[in-house]
Amino acid sequence: MTSQQNPAGGSSAGGQAWGSRLGVILAVAGSAVGLGNFLRFPGQAAANGGGAFMIPYFCALLLLGIPLGWAEWAMGRYGGRKGFHSAPAIMGVIGRGSIARYLGVMGVLIPLGVYFYYVLIESWCLGYFWQFATGGIGLHEANSIAEQVQESSAHYSHFTGMSANGGVFDFSQGITSTLFVFFLITVLANVILLYRGLSGGIEAFCKWAMPAMAVAGLVVLARVLTLPANAANPDQNVSNGLAYMWNPDFSKLGDSRAWMAAAGQIFFSLSVGFGVIINYASYLKKKDDVVLSGLTASATNEFFEVGMGGLITITAAFVFLGMSLGTLPGGTFGLGFQTLPVVFAHMPLGNAVGALWFFMLFLAAITSSLSMLQPTLAFLQEATGLSRKKAVSAVVLVSLIGNFYVMYFSSGLTVLGTIDDWVGTFLIVVLALVQCICFGWVLGIRRGMEEAHHGAQLRIPKVFWFIIKYVSPLYLGWMLVNFCKDVLPGWIDKLGTDPAARNALLFIAAVVAGLLLLTAMGERRWRAQGLDLDGVKPPAD
């Protein structure tokens, strides 16, 4: 790493560095690959034109996902060469001033806020894995599919505690009947890996978890694609299941909602505008490639999403549930935790396949959640000068407060949903727009591309200069306008009528206040240290 003084004290990067190039790629890909790849994508595609959905999907990948990813990798490494590793500090350098620095607080708030609830969903995956590995979730074979879906929904409701606040502490049906024990195990795993550091923890884990996830996914895929046709209805077979998912409906392409859904899916799936890539890339050196690395991480995410998510989930569900699939619980949680358990109950070797499936989802989730605390950790160290040990303790304490808040107020999953809406959905688009403007317009597209090409093993085609400067910001602006027109009014109404949603937003507001305060402290500290926090000088190397 550069020898420039680091605001966290000690050597640049605060003693942290990646061990290998493959390691950083797998860590970024692990951050991107999550539940959305396997559960959200197939539902979105099937509902928005099937195969035709891939047209807006690939447009969004080329116009938003890949170029914004490159920009974030380049900005992160540039900030790292100046000795910074947190989004506020790096955005201040790229955006040359306090406005960009304070807007960069979103790059800490988003991963931290999402971690508050994401680790709970991760615990659901671990819990379902355990339950399938030890005999299933208790569906009665003699019941009809509709009755089994109702049993599955009741199990899900009890397990997640969504039936009432504090539901996860109801152990009347056994200690493993709710997510609490699995939550403790999941948090412990996250903390241990975070505590072991960037290379010894996150990277080392992702280097085996990502291949393990691919193997588990391929085994489940092979099982699904070789399923025999449904004995009661031979038309419910694999080929027709693929047809349900992939037959194109071009009429949907005239609907702007399909284009919004495709852009949203690419966006949330690739984790651009999330604050993680910028932090991870800040630990790279000037001569380290970011272009091929960024493309490889994006491609890996797409392989899991289209190559596995696009073939497994809907196909398996169709063989056992047929056209009734359209009436069953959809969306990420409905499909994953209510409908699929019924599918596994009907499948030969269903418990084993179900266990493998939920283990794969758990790996997808933990490689993502690990990436969510690292940006906060780096920010806390930089802003306060705390040692890594103390900073880990502080971050764990703050994250536990958030986790317990979301876990206890579980009724209807309103708190979880509100934080996901405002932090995990809306702010991501806003931060991406800020990053896009800072990279393409404030730093300048020519300088930004020069920066991206240091050590590059692949040239970014020149058309992407135009895309990043003009097309991506316009695309993001169009997304935000549509969002404000179609979605935001409903969310605001909900804040007025639902105290749980209002309190969740107040909780997030308190976190924002804390992060802004820390940024002000950091600003004073960095200025006193003589660091180039407004990006007026070229990097020392």
Binding site: G14, Q16, A17, G51, G197, N240, E302, M323
Partner: protein, 63 residues
Amino acid sequence: MNLNLATLQETVLLPIKPMTTLGWVFLIGSVGSVTILTFWCFRRVLTAPAESELVKPPDALGG
């Protein structure tokens, strides 16, 4: 969850459409393109010159 059994029974009676040629084109084109891109990228990464690898040893709990 409110599961309407009547709706479910009506939906079960909907005709099942077989895979069309365009369906196969979109499936093979999409899955094939992301698979080829992923393997191409990893081949480039794994055959990159050794000096591109980071050399700093891992550090747990530095700081």
